[in-house]
């Protein structure tokens, strides 16, 4: 199908045709056509017509901005529409307007058509994108236009991709010399698809004879295949590392708050997960405010959400400390029970307020999608953002604890409460602030995970066990330990997952923790010596 489109495009690229109005019949078929084939035929017809009106219509179709009202076909912009045939403006949209539904097949053809159109676009990025689309699915018919584009192409990267495309086409058809050349060019490709292009050349038939008679080509293909595979392998390795890092940063930021409330203050805070959840819901609330009152600034709602999550969770934490926790200092196991009760209450509270369903937290546009690091490796923006965010939070906490008066007090109180109060540290208030800080950081974690996971009443339950594992593994009272443990667990988990599957990987990690604690009962970063036993 696409092939046809492209040949036609070639035709139109060859000689500029006179402009004429869109054929109403074709447009009608496009909008009301019974079968997909009918619609596809219409698409081709449109392209064939070479009318500059075609492109906007096709693009609108792809974007789902084409509606029908009675017999009319409208390209919708906002609440106004333009008649695709006559081009007259229709505003407001008629009440009976109804979307034109396309299935994936038609959308695919449209994609190809539009990308082919884009191949000769002025904007360099558009061309690159178009070239990549073709690289994913090279058709013989596209060869001429690709060659044409190549000739005109000035940008190196786009040129590179186009050469691959051309090569992968010539690989099939073409004389030996051309094919050999093609194969060599392909060696430079990192596109996963090239592997499948080359494979048949080195495959054996059922009867054991080579599918590709020409030995030279086979050898060349082997070589190129090796190159390509090598490059792909790198993409996978890096991807794995990134995944581990990303998971690790999430574990780490989720556990960081706990490292303070539990690690420093000795409160076994079973409601920690719920404070993460509260942070996520705070983010959700802020997002809705932006949607309602400042849709223009929506992309920046996180700037407001981060402090909001921080403050809300922090406030909740301080209230909890004032009302419940402070009566339980020195009785860690009691705090476990009380905070467990708290977590139940918080979960139910959220359920009554926001409902049992998950709520929708949108990524700001700059956080959705990802950067094409390698042909077979996309690094999602939201994960990159979280890694940096986590790092920033760690830095902030470290500064707070090591450089500020509060930090000094916190360390003082947690190390020797009696002494601290003797030298006039307001221990009670410090406790409140410290606990609040731990919870506030949990809130930040909530804000972060709301960008990758789902936000619902049970959100916290998913993180509590892992958080404790991280803190204990890192060594109680050791922020650094928490950081290393979090990232470490993330990496280990992902590496294992790549060959043992998710479940076994998790089990292995847990067993590893159990064994590790046997060797280092005080965690990664333990204080040795007399202090410990005391």
């Amino acid at each position: 199908m696409r092939g046809l489109v492209l040949t036609l495009l070639l035709a139109l690229a060859a000689f500029a045709p006179p402009a004429l109005a869109l054929d109403a019949g074709v447009v009608h078929k496009l909008a009301f056509g019974e079968s997909s084939s009918e619609k596809i035929a219409a698409v081709n017809a449109l392209v064939e017509s070479g009318d500059e009106q075609a492109e906007p219509l096709l693009k609108a179709l792809l974007a789902g901005n084409v509606q029908t009202s009675g017999e009319r076909v409208l390209i919708v912009r906002g609440d106004a529409g333009i008649d695709a045939v006559t081009g007259e403006k229709v505003s407001p949209l008629p009440a009976d307007a109804d979307n034109v539904v396309l299935n994936n097949r038609v959308r695919g053809v449209l994609d190809a058509a539009v990308s082919a159109l884009r191949l000769v676009s002025r904007d360099r990025d558009t061309r690159l994108e178009a070239a990549r689309d073709l690289a994913d699915d090279p058709r013989a018919a596209a060869l001429p236009i690709v060659k044409k584009a190549l000739a005109k192409e000035t940008d190196a990267e786009v040129k590179g991709v186009l050469e691959i495309v051309a090569a992968s086409i010539e690989l099939r058809a073409g004389a030996e010399a051309e094919r050999l050349a093609a194969i060599r060019t392909l060696a430079g490709s990192g596109n996963p698809k090239t592997e499948t292009l080359l494979l048949p050349l080195v495959a054996k038939k059922a009867d054991g004879s080579w599918a590709e008679p020409d030995a030279a080509i086979r050898a060349a293909a082997q070589a190129s295949l090796a190159d390509v595979r090598g490059r792909l392998a790198w993409g996978e390795r890096i991807g794995l590392l990134f995944a581990g890092l990303s998971l690790g940063s999430i574990l780490m930021i989720a556990a960081l708050g706990l490292a303070i409330t539990y690690g420093l203050m000795g409160v076994i805070n079973m409601a920690h997960g719920e404070l993460i959840m509260i942070g996520a819901y705070a983010t959700y609330a802020v997002q809705n405010l932006f949607k309602a009152y400042a849709p223009a600034a929506f992309d920046w709602y996180l700037l407001a959400a981060v402090p909001a999550a921080f403050l809300v969770s922090g406030a909740v934490g301080m209230i909890l400390e004032r009302t419940v926790i402070r009566w339980l200092y020195g009785r860690p196991l009691e705090t476990l029970l009380a905070t467990w009760g708290i977590s139940l209450v918080l979960i139910q509270a959220v359920r009554s307020l926001f409902g049992a369903q998950n709520v929708q937290v949108d990524n700001p546009s700059w956080m959705s999608g990802g950067v094409q690091a390698l042909p077979n490796l996309v690094l999602p923006y939201n994960r990159i953002a979280i890694i940096f965010f986590a790092a920033a939070v760690v830095a902030g906490v470290w500064l707070l604890l090591s450089r500020t008066r509060l930090g000094l007090f916190v360390r003082g109180v947690t190390q020797n409460r009696a002494m601290a109060s003797c030298v006039g540290v307001p221990t009670a208030r410090v406790d409140t602030w410290a606990f609040g800080l731990g919870c506030a950081i949990a809130g930040l974690a909530g804000c972060a995970v709301s960008q990758v996971g789902n936000v619902g009443p049970a959100l916290g339950q998913g993180y509590i066990v892992d958080s404790f594992m991280v803190v204990v593994l890192g060594g109680v009272g050791q922020l650094a330990g928490t950081v290393y443990a979090g990232v470490g667990l993330g990496l280990v988990n992902k590496l294992l997952e790549s060959w043992s599957g998710a479940v076994l990987a998790k089990i292995a990690v847990l067993v590893f923790i159990i064994v590790f604690i046997q060797k280092r009962p005080q965690g990664l970063f333990a204080l040795k010596g007399r202090a410990v036993e005391a």
Partner: protein, 357 residues
């Protein structure tokens, strides 16, 4: 001090046993249905369930209340006992499964042709009964052996027990593990050849649970009133000193830890035929935490308290989930908070009956 109970204690215990072993069965069997005093199957099985929980609570109190070891993984031992019994019950289904094959339905649907090795002999009740004791016991022994040898204490120990049960849960969720995955075992038909879904069988199972509970209670009481019990309490309060007195505290902990696990296993084995299902969610960390909460509510270091706590919390749960289905979590949560805040010694503390260990 070597006497188990004072005279009042014995009387109370006798009355308790009478209520459990005579009154309830009578109300259930002798009193005709419709009569306001009749106990329906629902109540019998509910009571039976509570009794099993009470046993777990007792086991927990032994390790936590007396030896000061807080386990957040007791649900695992409970579940293992349950699974061991469940394997036998699955075998008892015989050809009455959905597919009428000699294998359990979940194996048929995994295309397994034969029982995996660890299922062998489970069709013999005695072997299954042995597993009920051995599997949790062995696991606890091995785990405890290493943990106590490397002197893992307090919260660290609690956390790794949590990791243990969590890992086990994930393992049992896998269908390939061969224990029915997420669904676990259910739809049991008969036990020792008798149909399982009859009032009589329920009363029998209930009575067994009651007997087991009383047995556990007496055993526990005997332990904590013996010198052994005093050593345990001493370990809880000043482990260093106990060591320098020449006691190998590790062995003491290991013993009570393993015993506690075995008791949980037995409770689980009694639990499964009464509720009719065992699946990995029994191993979820939350369940184990709840066990600790039962004990805390009842009062730590007082065996009776554990029983009270289990009955109280679960009774409250059953009641609230029906009366206030939408908001019952508030009640439960507040219960835990208030108990820890205002009744640090639990119900027993209120009753002012807490002896020093």
């Amino acid at each position: 001090m070597t006497r188990l109970y004072g005279s009042r204690g014995w009387i109370a215990l006798a009355a308790f046993s009478a209520a459990l072993l005579i009154v309830v069965p009578l109300l259930a069997l002798a009193v005709p249905a419709g009569n306001p005093f009749h106990l329906s199957e629902y109540w019998v099985s509910l009571a039976g369930k509570f009794l099993c929980y009470a046993i777990v609570a007792l086991a927990m109190d032994l390790v936590w209340g007396y030896a000061g070891i807080l386990s957040l993984g007791h649900g695992l031992f409970f579940a293992l006992g349950g699974y061991a019994m469940g394997m036998y019950l699955m075998r008892q289904i015989g050809l009455d499964g959905v597919y009428h094959r000699p294998l359990p339905d979940f194996m048929v649907f995994l295309d397994w042709k034969a029982y995996p090795w660890y299922w062998s002999f489970t069709d013999h009740f005695l072997y299954a009964a042995a597993l009920v004791v051995l599997v949790p016991g062995l696991l606890a022994f091995v785990f405890g052996w290493f943990a106590f040898r490397s002197r893992i204490k307090g919260v660290y120990f609690s956390i790794i027990t949590q990791a243990l049960t969590y890992a086990a849960m994930l393992l049992f969720f896998r269908n390939e593990t061969g224990f029915g995955g997420n669904n676990g075992f259910t739809d049991f038909k008969r036990i020792l050849g008798f149909p399982i879904a009859t009032l009589d069988m329920r009363v029998v199972l209930y009575a067994l649970s009651a007997a087991a509970l009383l047995g556990t209670l007496l055993l526990g009481r005997w332990l904590v009133t013996s010198k052994f019990g005093r050593v345990l309490a001493a370990i809880r309060d000043a482990e260093q000193r106990v060591m320098f007195c020449g006691y190998d505290t590790g062995h003491y902990k290991l013993f009570v830890w393993t015993l506690s696990a075995v008791l949980c296993g037995i409770a689980g084995a009694l639990y499964v035929p009464q509720v009719g299902i065992i699946n990995p969610s029994e191993m979820s960390p939350a369940n184990s935490i709840e066990v600790a909460i039962w004990v805390a509510v009842g009062g730590r270091g007082t065996l009776a308290g554990a029983v009270i706590g289990a009955a109280l919390v679960n009774g409250a749960k059953s009641f609230f989930t029906q009366e206030f289905p939408d908001i019952w979590l508030y009640f439960l949560g507040l219960l835990f908070i208030l108990v820890t805040l205002f009744m640090p010694r639990g119900v027993m503390g209120l009753l002012g009956r807490r002896k020093a260990a």
